[in-house]
């Protein structure tokens, strides 16, 4: 099993992305409101306010999507993410990582 983490900076894609996940058989995911570090640093810590231009691409709001899935789902999830966001061709849209899951507790069999 794998834990997929998607950092979605362009949140306007969220609805379509979740719909695409349903289409390919993703049974569920957790969606968190999140903020890019650069945005917090340059807007909430005054000494770094001069870096706002540098961190202009850092989202004031983004979404972090977590899902546990079988390894063989990863290419399908990647395809869905590409199809909806085009993230493989544009920077700053989304990022995805997968990490191994050792044990599962509380999940339906």
């Amino acid at each position: 099993m794998k834990l997929i983490i998607i950092f979605l900076n362009k949140i306007e894609y969220l609805d379509d992305l979740l719909a695409a996940f349903l289409e390919i058989g993703v049974p569920g995911a957790t969606v968190l409101d999140s903020v890019g570090m650069g945005h917090i640093v340059s807007h909430d810590i005054p000494i770094f306010a001069g870096l706002r231009d540098f961190f202009a691409g850092s989202s004031p709001t983004n979404k972090t999507i977590l899902m546990v899935t079988q390894k063989d789902m990863i290419p399908k999830i990647d395809e869905a993410l590409k199809d909806v966001t085009g993230y493989h061709q544009k920077t700053g849209v989304a990022k995805m990582i997968s990490v191994p899951v050792d044990d599962l507790f509380g999940f339906e069999k």
Partner: protein, 155 residues
């Protein structure tokens, strides 16, 4: 990242003669320019003023770190001064400023600027360090205080 290698005895002034925010920034810049006359004063002042307009560089606890990225300089310049009287620097905590660091970084060395600002602002959260700096009576003692603090921190 250590601060002490960037501190230059000739770019420290205790006490500063001026008593207003922008005059103090200029007084510290003049220290740097006396030693490094290749720096364009007017352009540098403008960059420092532009940065102050975005948000105050008075980080609180009587400390200010005016700074700017400057075109056509090749190295980092750091000046430090202790005000003679407490000075209104538009600090967010509304406390007057005593300790002022002026930092100039080459425009292309953004990571160095971020690192130095982060290190300075974190170090200066340390009340003991601020107290020791405020007690300094001469330029070498400032460098000694920073060096000792860093030796403890990095040991």
């Amino acid at each position: 990242m250590r601060i002490s290698p960037y501190l230059d005895r000739d770019c420290i002034k205790i006490p500063l003669k001026k008593h207003k925010k922008y005059e103090i920034i200029e007084e510290l810049l003049d220290l740097i320019i006396q030693k490094y006359p290749e720096i364009d004063k007017q352009k540098t002042i403008q960059s420092l003023m532009d940065r102050e307009k975005i948000e105050t560089t008075a980080v609180g606890n009587h400390v200010a770190i005016p700074h700017a990225r400057i075109k056509n300089i090749q190295k980092v310049y750091l000046a430090f001064g202790i005000t003679e009287k407490s000075v209104d620097f538009d600090a967010l905590d509304e406390k007057p400023v005593k300790l002022v660091f002026l930092l100039l970084c080459p425009e292309k060395k953004l990571n160095t600027q971020i690192g130095l600002l982060a290190r300075l602002s974190r170090f200066l959260h340390d009340k003991k360090l601020r107290k020791e700096l405020a007690k300094c009576k001469n330029n070498q003692s400032v460098i000694n205080v920073f060096t000792e603090h860093e030796n403890k921190h990095f040991s």
